[in-house]
Amino acid sequence: MQRIKRLKWTVLLVVLALVIVGCGDGDAEEEPAATTAAAPATTAAPEPGDQEEPAPEPGDQEEPAPETTTTTAAPAPPPEPVTVRAAVTGDEGTLTPYTYISGFPGWNLLMLQYDSLMQLDAAGVPQPWLASSVNVSDDLTEWSVTLVEGVTFHDGEPLTSDDVAFSVEFYTTNPEASRFARDFRGVADVVVHDDYNVTFVLESANPGFDVVALADAPIIPRHIWESVELPSEHQFAGGTNIGSGPYMLTEYVDSQSYRFAANPNYFRGAPAVDELVVIVFADDAGAQAAIRTGEVDVIFERIPPEQIDLLDAQDPLDVILGPEFATQMINYDASIRPFDDVAVRQAINLAMDRQDFVDTVYLGAATVGSPGWIHPGHSVYNPGIATDVYDPAAANALLEGAGYADTDGDGVREFDGQPMSFEIITNASDSLRLRIAELTVEMLAAIGIETEVLPVDTGVWENAVWPGFDVNNGRNYQIAMWGWSPPVQADPLRLPWLVHSSLDRGFLNLTGYGNAEMDELSEALAVEPDPAERKAILGRMQEIIAEDLPFVLLLYPDGAYVYDSSVYADWEFIAGQGIVSKLSLLPPSARP
């Protein structure tokens, strides 16, 4: 009896163990169901009768003539195909114009597969790309584009004016891809003259149309998208993302990896990197470990300042640095006491030791902020704006003179009978921003303003500073750490968005700021055809910002990217965008 009982017990345990192991092992053999898209055949013949154009010419005009072997020596072996494995932190969806996720690096990966009419060069200036020329009328309302001839999509279909007009129409009638719908907002008509000439007619003058639209929106093929009804839910099952770009997405495994194959028929020349594997990490620590082990060759995200020297010191890793127009700044609610008083805002500005932020928090890998908002490396920077304004004594004198005295001797000044004591709200997930906030507390204490850091979840922080992402909802904060992504500053014509008192135009005006002269300048800027005049207007706007302080700009983090130089080293740093672009992967001769 005992023996039987013992046996039963043992069997039970073994069965339980087997059930559990079975669950795990059985599944281990299975491939996870991956959204695997077959590589499009680049040699596919055009549909008969589909297009009037003849079959596209292979190759392109910029490619050197094929070498002829005249010597008797054995021909050189073909070069080893170059595969680059890149790390990103976070999945980016299926990477169509309607499903990519983040503005960086999602949009950048999207644009490896597609082309825009213009392309930013290394200096961040738009150059003709799919366009061979771009001409704008004197009143800035008509933009005429001539396309490069012979460009084809990945499936061999030619890219013509018709696809350009279709793209604009598709984005505006399916506004779920909000970025591209916005790009073409204000386009009254797209006139197709012939296969290679098209004119954008705008409702009103837009001097920045080349940067915000022509160099931003991917041109999509009519023959693929015209049958798509719900673009944001369309899965492109079996097919793939057909664009005209240097890379084709051949495989996507959610939250694991993307596989891109080079498009050998790319109109600017075949890419220098034959295969790009983009690996999705859950966090940046994982990506940094993997580049140390050699499991990835480049990280498509900015690396944190404390990693720059560590990674650079390891062979064969190198770090490339460059200007990015991201910002770290202090916002306050300028519509409430005491921040409605310009003296208080100026005092806060004077109390900020910007160099200390750069040295202590960023270990030097940042640029000291201009109180006038625009990066000193930007083409429209007003050199009359000083960046070394740190002067706590002057700040104290300013507050004293404006009547903010410390009457009860507790080290904290008072306003309207209350102590100047505030909360600084910030998102806990950004450790650098958190450290800036902590230093800000010390710097403000030195001028008799008591503050306390309130680190919260990103959603809570956004909702306090920018409720519902709509400035019409007002704000629920006193002081906040804030920052904008590079595009907001890269195009200086967006400056009115931040400072215009009408919430319609100032839809990024998160501080409730208003100034009549600023509003006038903002409106003049939008219709000024002369670039030199626009620069002058922007110069004056920077002066007002530095004086009036709608917000306090602290610094611009530099972009820092790490790569394995033994695998691939020709990375191109686009000012304001970083290294994640098709330019980095094309041979230098094919770059603008």
Binding site: T35, D91, S178, S255, A282, G459, F469, F507
Partner: protein, 315 residues
Amino acid sequence: MAQYSVVVVVAVTLNFLLPRLMPGNPLALIAGVDVGMLTPDQRADIVARVGLDAPLWLQYFRYWGDIFTGDFGFSFRSSRPIVDMIWERIPWTLLITGLSLVVSAVVGVLLGALSAWRRGTKGDLSMLSGMISVESLPSFWLGMVLISLFAVQWGLLPSFGAVTPASDLEGWAHVWDIISHAIMPVAALSIVGTPGVYMTMRYSMLETLGEDYIRTARAKGAGERRVLFGHVARNTIAPVITVLAIRLGFAFGGTVIIETVFSYPGLGRLVFEAVAGRDYPVMQAAFLVFTAAVLVANLLADLLYPLIDPRTRTS
């Protein structure tokens, strides 16, 4: 059965409400970084498209509809069908949590029994304090230490993921690829999971060893082996089964921290990303999977108990 139905209704309701009670706005996720540049019309369009403009009660009934049809719609974040996303993740999660459950169960039970059998000895006490120390290790730290030793320092194991991306491996090479990627996550999970089983086993066994019937068994001359396996083990195992059943239920939830540290594509990471981005439909569907798994594991424990412990048989 009625009890289980009530639990399901309450759990489903909570799954629906919890995401919506969190502060933060899913609009940012749906519209991407450019959310602030939308016109009010565009904003309303987006909210209507994903059904967030409907009154709460209607959204709630739609969620019940989703449950019965098994169609949870599309993720706000990646615009992919949620059912696909969950099915892709489940095998990976079960692989590492299942294996680590087995390892920690076997090691925990054996060491726990050994410790209790030799209670009060130097071996028992040092093992006990060792287990307490291990239990207090933060799992993310443990994961990072494993990565820096086995991947960065010695280059023995891959540092991330479930497979080598774009490797085109087939057959045994593919199997080995999966195993080598699972070793570190399984090790980390097993290490942090063992002390709980060990403690339960040791405590439960100490209690049993103090019972009168054990003394009786010894008094009538039963051998040590007979006492251990015939009397002690059988009366000890019930609480351990409870602990393991609960863990089995939670195994479907994966493990947010370990899956994040190792960039492992399991359910835990999916939920982490969904919560961070307020991806309501993904959260609702994933929570439902967890609920179902916990309930099934509970049921399993309820059914197993009478087999192990005759005293709980109701007939």
